[in-house]
Subunit: 513 residues, 2 copies
């Protein structure tokens, strides 16, 4: 503490802080300056002006209730992107902001790095490490005068007039009532993603937690830690303890498997140490109607099955019929009591996507042609999980993968940039412009982690193609390295690495905040 | 990517993964093993057994509805700690678990490092970096058979029978209904802290956010980011924009000043860059009825006033009369519209502390003697903000500071350890045991940061005593160093340092999760 002593006894520092203080403006009567309200800031007072000001507000609202057409105002053409997932964000990142103004409309102001979301539920990673703010992906939206991010939902698309209707997201806060506004677009990119499928099973939406957004992961984490603590409180029966600590995952796709793996790893490494009183009551069950990881080959699936079983995950083949608050019922009548229920049985088009009066692909997604344009309308494109080839292209609908979405975003940004450079940026002006190559999807392979130091890597283009597929520690290493390099910003890349390192050294954090 | 290629083409790795796969048990008919339910786990089925099992549950609940007296069971004496703040956690940390079993009852499973909480609202620090799980502070509670942490509120103290009544916290989740249980104690330490004071002003609890828990900081952050984004959406009047982005802090104590400083720093450094469209609309106002930082000396106060004004914080002297959802009203009738209202006007005893039938100190805290014992009852101690000297001691009630609470926790742990060693650990057995020195509080000084690179440090024992007091960059450096060394675990110390470094390099994170 010598430096400390030195600092506080150093006369130079004392005098410098004194000299700063000398220049303080001294108000005439008081010891220090607390400025009076009227002097400093024109607050509204309780006189009659309030009624006139609210009339003014109404006028302003009407005048600026949206962004008008760009052609009239002489602005750059405007690309409106609906959604902030893999597809929308990749497009936003690559679009040339010297050619276009970009406007992104989404109910969340960040992109979720979904492959790492399962890790955040148990504290291997921090929530913030897997969320990338849109403003960091495309800085123009926070700086350029014509580029914006709007925290809103799209409520309608008027293709004839090149306008989208939106409504703000206010999140139940009493700050402000939600309100509607319109945005004229020159190019519209629909990248709204998909919704979790519940197959019409009752009680899923009310009782299960999906795993698609950061707040889902937060909810899972809070519930898991709550159940762990509640099961330790005196007065609880063994049966109830078993129920509370029974974590059920429905759906054996990569998300379900990865979450089960992380959970069993958390139980083995952290629960045994930090919740020693209840460690024998906690169990993980994975329920799947068909086969787990059906996109991987047999060998890898067998490896995954073995690894999961070894780490204590119970694999159950069954079909869920009904979901009640504390138990679910399988089609054979078996009742499965649970404390935590995570649902990941794939995704399908959202009700909003279904309601749009646009051509559709088989399966109800927004139909697109080979250039990802929506046929029969002008200047509308659809990418990611919400879009699929129309039947007339003769191409199959692509799987709902981050990989597909990102590749489409990249392709479409390049296409729009090309169109913009050749003067086709404005609405209705790209009819005769050469669009270049069609979008072609080449599958780069699949990866899935199975928890501690184990993963699957399948680098073949399809299940029947030749190529490399492997499982084990090396795969796990490839899995971590690959995702670390794919995290978008250096900040988050740094944090993911730091999180992994601290989890390794100190174990997972268990504070329930 | 040479290493990558090497890895996937290395035959050794391939064969090793194959050899792993060979050992997979192959079920007779299916391609991979999905175990049947009945084989693996005895789920309840839909027969008549359910009614009998619920009767069994009720019996179990009655039998184990609490922790009984330790003397009868031959266990170590039990110290029950109510609360997990500075006082309770310091006690938990220091108590000798070879002498005592410890049971902590609190509605949160972590301690909040309150001096750094203001920094988390704007993203300078992560929420998790300022939360320390109780299990890390005192590992015995997660491992020792007789030591527990219960996520519960204390609902009553029965001093005659040495029993506390508790009720679980279930947080509104449908997992489980809250239930009551009892804990017998040999020593009871009440460390329940205090509640934010609202002075009976209407609307404070509904509309203002306090700054005492991590979820408060989360709420402030979410609301601030929401308001920043909403004010950017078309259709909003300038007047409404001003209101939404008007951040009002009521209370000019260290918390209010530090939060204002952090906020103005966030505005200067991050809002100007990331919300350029609305940067001219955002303002911070600090309302205080008397003087800001009244515990610091005039010179430091003047410096603070000047620095805050320089960084754009409006200091307003006023008394809040009424708080409405979108505006507050001062006693002179001025209306102050706001988008975010943070309330930090000090703390007072909670209604539960007031309701306890125990001796009280002036001001309504739980009364204690010079050894922090509650007079007139056996084996009950009170420490931290919820306790104060009874009048007969002739000592003044100590200020509600983390410093006081922590020192009391440390003192009481040593006292209990001494008592335990001399055989006075059991209930009603410490009457004739020498308690040692009385608790004496020596103020080590106060610190407060004013935002970017500026802080106050006052190392005098009281306002009129001699000693070192200073302000400026060096103080800020001392402030950071001092708090970094005081963060409890190495994990969080590491994270706080990493957070500070990344904020410095990359700016604050603005994703609203």
């Amino acid at each position: 503490m010598v430096w400390f002593k030195y600092l506080i006894l150093n006369p130079l520092i004392k005098s410098s802080s004194k000299s700063l203080l000398k220049t303080t403006p001294r108000p005439p009567t008081k010891n220090f300056a607390l400025f009076s309200l009227s002097h400093y800031y024109n607050f509204y007072t309780t006189d009659a002006s309030s009624s006139s000001s609210s009339a003014a507000t109404a006028a302003v609202v009407n005048r600026f209730s949206g962004l008008g057409p760009t052609a009239a105002a002489g602005e750059k053409p405007r690309v409106v992107v609906l959604g902030s997932g893999w597809a929308g964000c990749r497009l936003l990142k690559d679009v040339d902001t010297s050619l276009y103004d970009v406007v992104c409309v989404s109910p969340r102001n960040h992109m979720v790095f979904t492959p790492l979301l399962a890790s955040t539920c148990v504290g291997t990673l921090e929530f913030r490490s897997v969320a990338e703010p849109i403003g960091r992906i495309q800085p123009a939206i926070s700086k350029e005068p014509g580029s914006y991010f709007f925290l809103a939902n799209c409520t309608g698309v008027d293709a004839d007039n090149h306008v989208v209707q939106c409504e703000t997201v206010t999140d139940g806060l009493n700050t402000l009532n939600p309100w509607k506004f319109k945005i004229s677009y020159d190019k519209l990119v629909i990248a709204l993603g998909a919704e979790a499928l519940t197959f019409g099973i009752q009680g899923v939406a009310e009782n299960a937690i999906f795993l698609r957004e950061v707040y889902h992961a937060q909810e899972i984490r809070r519930k898991l830690l709550l159940n762990l603590m509640l099961s330790d409180v005196p007065g609880i029966s063994d049966e109830e303890k078993c129920r509370l600590l029974h974590c059920v995952v429905v759906g054996g796709g990569p998300t379900g498997v990865e979450f089960s793996g992380e959970l069993s790893d958390f139980i083995k490494r952290d629960v045994h140490q930090r919740y020693a009183h209840v460690k024998d009551y906690i169990h993980v069950t994975l329920i799947e109607a068909n086969e787990i990881l059906s996109s991987f080959d047999d060998r890898l699936r067998r490896y995954a099955t073995k690894q999961l079983s070894k780490s204590g995950v119970r694999l159950v083949r069954g079909i869920v019929k009904d979901v009640k608050p504390q138990k679910l019922i399988l089609s054979d009548g078996t009742e499965v009591p649970y404390g935590l229920l995570v649902w990941s049985t794939g995704v399908g088009p959202s009700s909003f996507v279904k309601s749009l009066e646009l051509p559709k692909s088989p399966g109800g997604r927004i139909g697109v042609d080979e250039w990802l344009r929506v046929p029969s309308v002008q200047d509308i494109f659809a990418i990611g999980d919400c879009s699929g080839y129309v039947e007339s292209t003769g191409k199959p609908v692509l799987p709902a993968l981050a990989q597909v979405a990102e590749r489409q975003g990249k392709y479409l940004a390049a296409l729009l940039n090309r169109v913009g450079k050749t003067g086709g940026g404005q609405a209705n002006s790209a009819r005769d412009i050469e669009l270049g190559d069609q979008f072609v999807y080449k599958h780069l392979g699949s990866m899935a982690t199975l928890g501690r130091f184990k993963a699957l890597v399948d680098l073949r283009q399809s299940k029947d193609a030749k190529g490399v597929s492997m499982a084990g520690f090396v795969s796990w290493f490839i899995w971590r390295s690959a995702y670390l390099t794919r995290v978008i910003s250096w900040r988050n890349r740094f944090y993911v690495a730091v999180n992994w390192a601290t989890t390794f050294v100190f174990g997972r954090d268990i504070s329930r905040i």
